[in-house]
Amino acid sequence: MGKMIYSILKAAEDPGQLPAVLSGMRGISDADFHEVSYDDITAVVCDVQRAGLVTDRSATMDYAGVIDSLFKDFTLLPVRFGSVMESEGEIRNMLERNHIEIQKNLLKVEGKVEFGLKVFCDTEKLKADRSIEPEGTIKSVNDAEAGQKNQVYMDYVKKKLAEYRLEESVLSYVNSVIKEITECLTGVEATGKFKKMASPANIIDALFLIKKEMTAELIRVVKDLQTRYPDLNFMLTGPWPPYNFVDVTIS
């Protein structure tokens, strides 16, 4: 038997609030939740049989659902699914050892929500629109004295150069879109993370941490961006607990 940790949260001003919320929820394998606290931070845990812990549909979704429910009432740090410790004492020691780091992260995400923004694009069309011819400097070497062997080599180099320039051009376009998104989000005061070319179609995979009250403004900005870039498709998801803005690794 172990203790599965769902999240670490900041203690509420009303000490009765968390027990009241937890009393209406069930953990993995229908177990009761309980709290393990140190100072002003609390881990929400439930008993679990290590051997029976499986990432099936209901377990994973129920796990996310519990964190979502807690997130409505508390500032929290989600804990990765499957994090199990032996006993309450071990968890309390973990909270004590990492107290400063946990507090720092709780402060960073307090009153904030995470959003994901994926930007999709028909990359083949984008490449076709931005197709670039190899420059003449290559051709100047390609004279009659080059011979058949050199010709094969030069054709290869020209092809590779064209591919490189095309990739560079597409990346430059992606960078310009990211710059535009960043500028448009200035008023939202978002902390952002951008991943370029997550897949051939998904040219931008972004994450934002914003104040809860800025949600409507973020949606307005994304709608505006969609209007400005009709060839791109913007997909916004959220609000999420701050999964991607937690920086705590516990050994």
């Binding site: 099936d56 994973t60 410790m85 998904n202 498709n233 998801t237 516990i250």
Partner: protein
């Protein structure tokens, strides 16, 4: 918007949930106990999803 389009967008939302729950958050190294079984894609049903009609149509046609 037909049901297939909605199903595809639900799948994407579920992938977002799984990516977060399984890969993000506070990490306790050495204490992860997971075995994978039957990870079906279902809709959690609590998330906002904002997307253009074009996106939905492309999802419908399987371009993404």
């Amino acid at each position: 918007m037909n049901e297939n389009v909605i199903d595809r967008s639900r799948d994407i939302t579920i992938l977002e949930v799984l990516d977060r729950v399984l890969n993000k958050g506070v990490i306790l190294t050495g204490d992860i106990v997971i075995s994978v079984a039957d990870v079906d894609l279902v809709y959690l049903g609590v998330k906002l999803m904002l997307s253009s009609v074009e996106t939905m149509e492309q999802l419908k046609s399987g371009k993404h």
